[in-house]
Symmetry: C2
């Protein structure tokens, strides 16, 4: 059993003398983001940590298992925001408050979100293969909200556009805002998002 408390992993500081498992996750996150999941080999992860490949397999059952652990990190960050979409009819106002939270999480954990976006194919395969991910998944609830036939098309489009607006600065700017203060950036993004959905 290589499972470990998710919160502890996420709380890992900057890798001073963190556990090997946490260090593997940090390196994998960086490499998966830069080169893609399929473009990164286990050998590469091991080399950067100056350990051997089997050492990784002691901590993770498979390469997919590493990706799954990183997916769970993201899941943990976004679940609180998206839980507001269940149990009540979605309105533009509710959607706006969801995106407000989401903006904060995105800015606090940019690399994880970027890794997830740049490896959607691998993530999809993981969901098809691994049944441990179940269908508690966020993407499904999101897709259902945006396809809700009870909503006017105009509102559905504005929901999708505002969602894109939240991630535009991270996904499409190629690091143009990397050095910018998170609070200031968050304020500007939230203003722009409100202009779409407010």
């Amino acid at each position: 059993m290589t499972q470990v408390d998710v919160a502890a992993e996420a709380a890992d500081p900057s890798g001073a003398d963190a556990s090997t498992r946490a260090k593997i996750l940090d390196v994998a996150l960086a490499l998966f983001t830069e080169q893609g999941f399929d473009g990164t080999s286990m050998r590469e992860i091991a080399a950067r940590l100056r350990i051997s490949k089997p050492a990784i397999y002691y901590h993770f059952a498979s390469k997919d298992d590493i990706l799954l652990a990183l997916h769970m990190r993201l899941h943990q960050f976004v679940r609180p925001a998206f839980e507001r979409l269940t149990g009540q009819a979605v309105t533009l106002e509710i959607w706006g408050s969801v995106l407000d939270d989401l903006t904060g999480q995105m800015l606090a954990h940019r690399t994880i979100f970027l890794m997830h976006e740049r490896n959607q194919a691998a993530m999809d395969k993981l969901h098809r293969t691994d049944h441990a991910v179940e269908h508690d998944d966020i993407s499904e609830r999101l897709r259902r909200a945006l396809a809700d036939p009870a909503l006017p098309l105009r509102d559905r489009v504005r929901m999708a556009c505002s969602l894109g607006a939240v991630f535009g600065p991270l996904f499409m700017a190629g690091g143009a805002f990397d050095g910018v203060d998170g609070a200031q950036l968050g304020s500007l993004v939230r203003d722009a998002v409100r202009d779409v959905v407010g």
Copy 2:
């Protein structure tokens, strides 16, 4: 030499009795979008066309060469819009007109844009390896505009958010707008984008 006129490829209708080369590109586009570039093998492409692997290699020098051809298609679609960013200082108004054109292209060629987004890692590697792509590339001009220190941070953020808003309905909706009429969708997206950048 397997190079062929780019416009002719893009003009290929729906694959009735199109040339083998064009059919390979169509199948590769679909598979790269669904499963990712690295998650798709040459064997898979060949099997779906009921031809053999070497038949593909007669038309393309390598797997990367197929991806490059698809990249050129996209490049052709977006270049006119982005050429407006050269030779003059970027303003929110110019940016708005660029996104206006881009919205139309995105809706007219959804799959190509989606494939490009879902294979950024492979695309980056292509740019690093293949020097035929040169640095005429769009991504670079885009990044420079969004990082332009002559612009106030607020404007740069709104540029990034509006760019994200254009692609939100395509990238983040999981096909929730697949059946929607392009003209109607375009009108609604442009309205939302104008609220950010207008």
